[in-house]
């Protein structure tokens, strides 16, 4: 090997090394940030964290209560997230299947629909909340679990649709053609082939949206209300964890503020459980996917 080539190789190796170090450093930074957040919350919540936080409703009002737990907000958040996510999925799937099975790649309708979904995704949740509030009043509803579910579903819908849409667009045309050439209608191809092929992506989209929904405070502020009871029906107001954190942290009492961190820890834990469940499920839904 002549000197020039050796020199060149040396430079390429050095460049490679620099990028390896940079990549490793950014990975470490992400991990550190995550650990720092989790660590802080856990550490701050230790004084207040107890089993009764999980199993009891607040005593002495949700603002000032220093006793009992936040079962009201846990159950409220879970109900709300499940309801809103189910509703958003019910809205998203038809839209996405329509875009990907009934509309061609260059269809104007499809291009505009995707654009509107992107815009909707960018609308701040407080604005969605305000909109939900207006609709709620127009429908003659009170702040309630139902109004909260409707509003959060609207928040989740664009996230879920676009996330699912991105994976459905990757489905090769030949796969749809294979189904069509067996005499399947577009609807059958959509439901039997596309949904299965993209099952892992659908799962990811659903969880992404659910994570956003369960953690959002602004959209439920006016629509779901807050209460120290566990909601018994769709018409009851429902407490939620993000609002619990908001109210508790806003009090002037250190003991109540500690409870805010406990609520935050619980919320984080719920999201962690959702992610882990998704991982476990992913194996199963991945099984038949054609690579």
């Amino acid at each position: 090997m002549n000197a020039l080539a050796a020199n060149h190789l040396g430079r390429r190796k050095r460049t490679d090394l620099v990028f390896r170090v940079l990549a490793a450093a950014s990975a470490v930074m992400v991990l550190l940030a995550l650990l720092l957040i989790l660590g802080t919350i856990l550490w701050k919540s230790v004084p207040a964290l107890s089993l009764s936080m999980l199993t009891r409703t607040p005593k002495g009002g949700f603002y000032l209560g220093r006793e009992g737990g936040i079962l009201n907000a846990i159950v409220g958040s879970v109900y709300l997230a499940l309801g809103a996510t189910a509703l958003a999925l019910l809205l998203s799937l038809p839209v996405v299947l329509y875009l990907n099975v009934y509309k061609g790649r260059t269809s104007k309708t499809a291009v505009w629909t995707r654009f509107f979904l992107d815009v909707l995704w960018g609308v701040p949740s407080i604005v969605i909340g305000a909109f939900g509030f207006v609709i709620m009043l127009a429908l003659g509803l009170r702040a309630s679990l139902l109004a909260g579910i409707l509003t959060v579903a609207l928040l989740e819908f664009p996230i879920m649709s676009r996330a699912i849409d991105e994976v459905m667009r990757l489905v090769p045309r030949e796969l749809k053609d294979a189904s069509a050439s067996l005499g399947a209608t577009r609807f059958e191809t959509a439901v039997k082939v596309l949904v299965r092929q993209t099952a892992p992506g659908i799962l990811t989209g659903v969880l992404l949206a659910m994570g956003r929904g369960i953690g959002d405070a602004a959209s439920v502020l006016f629509t779901a209300g807050f209460t120290d009871r566990v909601p018994g029906s769709l018409a009851d107001p429902a407490a939620t964890l993000p609002l619990a954190i908001f109210f508790q942290l806003g009090t002037p009492f250190p003991e109540v503020q500690e409870r805010a961190y406990a609520s935050a820890a619980i919320l984080t834990l719920i999201i962690l459980v959702i992610s882990l469940a998704a991982r476990a499920m992913n194996r199963k839904v991945n099984r038949h996917v054609v690579k």
Partner: protein
Amino acid sequence: MNGDSPISIRNLSVLYGDHLALKDVSLDIPAKRITSIIGPSGCGKTTLLKSLNRLLDTDDGVRVRGQVLLDGEDIYAPRTEVTRIRRKMGLLSQRPQVLPMSIYDNVAYGPRIHGLRSRKELNERVERYLRLAGLWDEVEGRLREPASLLSVGQQQRLCLARGLAVEPEIILGDEPTSALDPQSSQNVERRLLELKRDYTVIVVTHILRQARRIADHIAFLYLGELVEQGPAAEVFAAPKDPRTRAYLTGEIS
């Protein structure tokens, strides 16, 4: 000739946007024979094949003029039910496309869509067509496994079984062996030769040797034009058109 010709193509032109991919093609496909569509890359072979089961419909901006008569019925007539047309043909694509489900479900997919519910009949059908496609012995014990785990050659035979399971009259193949190793290719070729007893077979290929081995009838396309067609022996022995001769001798490819 129309009497024993399940498909006749009449003055068919296909436009992608304003690119004329097929120019005024007329062709009668003989029944229970293997017809090979040959021609250089980009000459419109796939387009011609897809026009036969209306898969072109799924493209944007495609215009089709002329007629394709399937058992005397114009498949492009506005009243024609496209799923019924497609059911009459099994398609093998260039790269096998298995459906995201088990081996069993791949074969049962078509029959189920067309309303077959009985477990027993489904089992029978799956077995019969997996045997016909020469795959049964290899997959008998693993019918519940994902089809995507099969080798590419096995996947192509699975696609064949899947196409046969809707009990079509015609088998369409778009270079069905191009993604396969020599052994698997030979296997698929052998299947096609067996199948022509009961089915009309149309295969696109740009491997001339393959066309010589399996074709009874040849259609040569060049730049979207049907330049020559006729019994394979005649076309190979004495091509009438200079372009066909040039293609057969490898001067154009």
